[in-house]
Subunit: 397 residues, 2 copies
């Protein structure tokens, strides 16, 4: 993955390389712009990519000939003169498979250029169907069905896994909540799907999704935190994903927040995950720990209009503690709360915002870290997996 | 500061630029290699910089003419043939002023190429002399004295401050343990010293020093943590300093580790700093909180050969908690413990190493984060300040 993500990920080339390289490069840059930011006029493309109109015309004509884009005359609102043609990518011209492997469910989608979901498929996991072999077989079958249903072939695959993943070859070192360890997921999926497969940590893909298609599109320093069974976090720093030794990303769910908290499978106790994950939220709400998502969300909705102080007080305290740590360590412009956190009542989120700001030296120094609810909700990791798959594909359409 | 630090910070150019640019670039790259890694043969320079021997000869001859390097025939150990000449930088050919502003002391040094300290000066601070105006005046006087004493002019200044600093102009947003807020330190020092001044956070400079001259020279992902009055941390990720929004670095000393800990001036309580800073160590040792450094170190030395379990148990627990958080978040190859932490008894450090590994999922995933005592000790930030000042200087010698 390149260091830079988003609309400006691939700067246009205009000189200094061979003509065919320049053409390919400009084509990919233009397609990436359309993919990320949607249809726009030739004039806008020229301005944003820093290319002259004749170059834009040549690239667009080429893409139109291959059926990747169409052009249309926009409805004119004002002014005289010939309107600039709108360039509209065809979602079906190039699609990828996105796979979000969660603890209780696998969600898949066939996603077209521009991020449009062309088809979806999902199934629940339980103990017997959660093995790597079963999951891989089911993914292969569903991929076949999806592609037949939509009648658009996939050109690549992106997979989100809640665990520690080696990006180079999609090796899953450990996905504790799935019970997986040392799974050659990238290689095995590639063998059955006969497509290039990329695998990444779920929270990292959540951060990518928020950066490309969420509220954090214009920002370079963000943290995405989400809870389902586990708690994970992805960091984008200076516009690029933060990675550590040999490309492994950190595990924000395992920062210690509560010294007398519950033992965690990781060998520590009172991890952020044990204190603010799904089970902890169930305990706070007086629900059984394995309650269905719908039950948890309904219970949150049934709370008083302003439930603080109330049953969530202690839960929220651990959420704040972890957020203060993350903000003080990373100095992000925005923290995006994803997945289960999106169901937290508004007044609770407001309380969290105020407290994190009051208790974080760094938030005050940088003029305030914004804390926002993910607009992508449960789809964030699926959207991120699609973007992961699109990165090499857009250069080759 | 460039994204890449260390010996390979400036790759050699051999084509594609104007001849005078190429010469200047190669000269800076060669000088940086000598500065960071010390004297070496022309053959080594050629191999490491990827330049042919005639180019190396031209650059070295130019530097020798200006007196920046000398050449010598090395003592020959084996083999026949003419030996490659050793190229030795002259420390006095270009020097910088390094300033380490600490809570109780300011340390200054005039540092030559290669990192050699040519002269030193320091003075203690107390309430009346800790104001920005007093400190700036004293720095200017000491700079004058140092330069006269050593008879080598300074070409730039690097300053380490224990606080939140805006790198672009050396604005100190807040240095709480100094009692400073909104100080235009870079501008004011530049005006009195008539030299380019760069200011950075102390922990960031500690990380830079360990990366350029400490144990972490070959590593790309490291965290430096140090304690004096406050606790600070600097992160190098992918070979470059980790910064957040608008270049501000995080404040690792303010991650919450102990929910029932002491209130911190930052608005939170039980910060890493309040639990493992100098005052906390004094409390653990049964000393008054404002004990002199020498008294603290003597007390640590007087502990039993293996003082765990013992008086440090609880202190060490908070040290471990913070380290587990940092390792899980950043996935570093090495954590370097600096300053006051270097006085911790060996068995205590061994215990910390084992516990962090056992309690950190990420340490295990990446094959073990090394936890090391800083070889630079109390000088780390001063060394880092010199490197900060050298960065622009080496390109202009």
């Amino acid at each position: 993955m390149s260091r830079a993500w988003g609309a400006n990920g691939v700067p246009a080339l205009s000189s200094g390389a061979r003509p065919d390289e320049v053409r390919r490069h400009n084509r990919a840059a233009l397609l990436r712009r359309l993919h990320v930011a949607g249809p726009c006029t030739r004039a806008t493309l020229a301005a944003e990519l820093g290319l002259n109109r004749s170059t834009i015309k040549a690239v667009v004509d080429g893409l139109a000939e291959s059926g990747v884009v169409t052009e249309a005359v926009p409805v004119q609102r004002s002014g005289a003169g010939r309107p600039s043609l709108m360039v509209i990518p065809d979602p079906e011209a190039a699609a990828v498979l996105a796979v979000d492997i969660r603890v209780e469910q696998v969600a898949m989608a066939l996603v077209g250029i521009g991020g449009q979901i062309l088809g979806r498929h999902s199934w629940n996991l339980h103990r017997a169907t959660r093995t790597p072999g079963e999951v891989i077989t089911h993914i292969a079958e569903s991929a076949q069905l999806l592609v037949e249903e939509v009648a658009v072939p996939a050109r690549g695959v992106g997979v989100s896994v809640p665990g520690v993943v080696r990006r180079a070859d999609g090796w899953v070192h450990e996905a504790p909540n799935l019970g997986w360890r040392d799974v050659a997921l990238g290689e095995r999926l590639g063998a059955v799907l006969k497509l290039p497969v990329q695998v990444a940590n779920d929270a990292e893909l959540g951060a990518l999704a928020e950066h490309v298609r969420g509220n954090a599109r214009e920002l370079t320093d963000i943290v995405y935190i989400s809870a389902e069974r586990g708690v994970g976090g992805g960091v984008i720093s200076g516009g690029a994903p933060l990675r550590g030794t040999r490309g492994y990303v950190g595990e924000l769910g395992h920062i210690p927040v509560r010294p007398d908290g519950r033992p965690c499978y990781c060998g520590s106790r009172g991890c952020w995950e044990t204190e603010v994950g799904e089970a902890a939220l169930c305990r706070a709400l007086g629900l059984p720990e394995s309650s269905a998502r719908g039950v948890i969300v309904a219970e949150l909705r049934s709370l008083a209009a302003n439930p603080m102080p109330g049953p969530l007080d202690e839960y929220v305290e651990w959420l704040i503690a972890g957020l203060v740590g993350v903000v003080n360590m990373m100095a992000p412009e925005m923290v995006v709360l994803g997945d289960l956190f999106t169901a937290l009542p508004g007044p609770v989120v407001d309380h969290v915002r105020r407290q994190v700001h009051e208790r974080s030296l760094v938030s005050r120094a940088i003029g305030g870290t914004r804390i926002e609810i993910s607009p992508l909700g449960r789809d964030a990791k699926l959207v991120g997996a699609a973007e992961l798959a699109f990165e090499p594909v857009l250069g080759a359409v």
